[in-house]
Amino acid sequence: MASALPSGDMGAAEANSGNGGQMQKKPFTFNEIVLRNRLTALVVDGDNFCRLLEQGILQAYGLETQSVNNGDAAVELIASGAKFDLILIDMLLPILDGVEATRRIRAMGMRCKMLGVTACSGERERQAFLAAGVDVFVEKPLGPEILIPVLRELDGQV
């Protein structure tokens, strides 16, 4: 079911509780989920830093990743036959924006899980991205509370 999920500022909100930084929740680790299957992901982001970071996060979870820095390259990659279990795609991209790229990727019959990971936060943007075909609209940053359930689902652990 397509949905919009909040960004992950929980650490800061709790850190400002004035209790000296001692938290109730256990520390997060990338061992929260151990993948049983080989999963592949494509990261589409025009910003070098975000692309590197999102790839790093997915690799830490055990996924094999590729990345491109614009929507046109993403569409070409899919058109060439590349298959992915998961695509993370930003909304504002050079050459071809994320909304149109998503539309074209879906039009090619690609049914993989797509997360629209963007700094955009408006309802209009959310609706446009969902209508284009992303399964989940995620306001940056992409946190484990969003990614772990997705990966569990993709890995058949749900």
Binding site: S7, G8, D9, M10, G11, A12, E14, A15, N16, G18, G20, G21, Q22, M23, Q24, K25, K26, P27, F28, T29, F30, G46, D47, N48, F49, C50, L52, L53, E54, G56, I57, A60, D90, L92, T118, A119, C120, S121, E139, K140, P141, L142, G143, P144, E145
Partner: protein
Amino acid sequence: MEVVQIQRRLVDYTKSLFMEGFLDGQFLQLQQLQDESNPDFVVEVVSLFFDDSEKLLNELTIALDQPNVDFKKVDGHVHQLKGSSSSIGAQRVKNVCIAFRNFCEVQNIEGCLTCLQQVKQEYYLVKNKLETLFRLEQQIVASGGSIPMIEMGF
């Protein structure tokens, strides 16, 4: 200074950055990505964030100095800075970007200029804080110690 003292200082300093809102939980996730196979990951991505951000701040300064300001261009740069600052956990920078984008939307030049000043201030503050944090980590490693885990969670 003994390594235990430096480790204690690092823990206290890191916690203060969270308490004062300079960093949020996203930064912790970043630190978790660092391991023996990728020991310099955090420093590398943070350095990339610094390079990208300083370019964006220069672009913003130039764009807002034009006789006819292209607010769409300004908004694009701020949007990018919002994305990268939120991804690294630089919460205060991100929050100024949110206000900045609102001023871009209504084409309020004074508001944009004020936000530019604020975002530069917040950026250089967090840059300074992170550089201090990395210096402490380097001191620990150079003294033969290990970087302590901070007791925080998502």
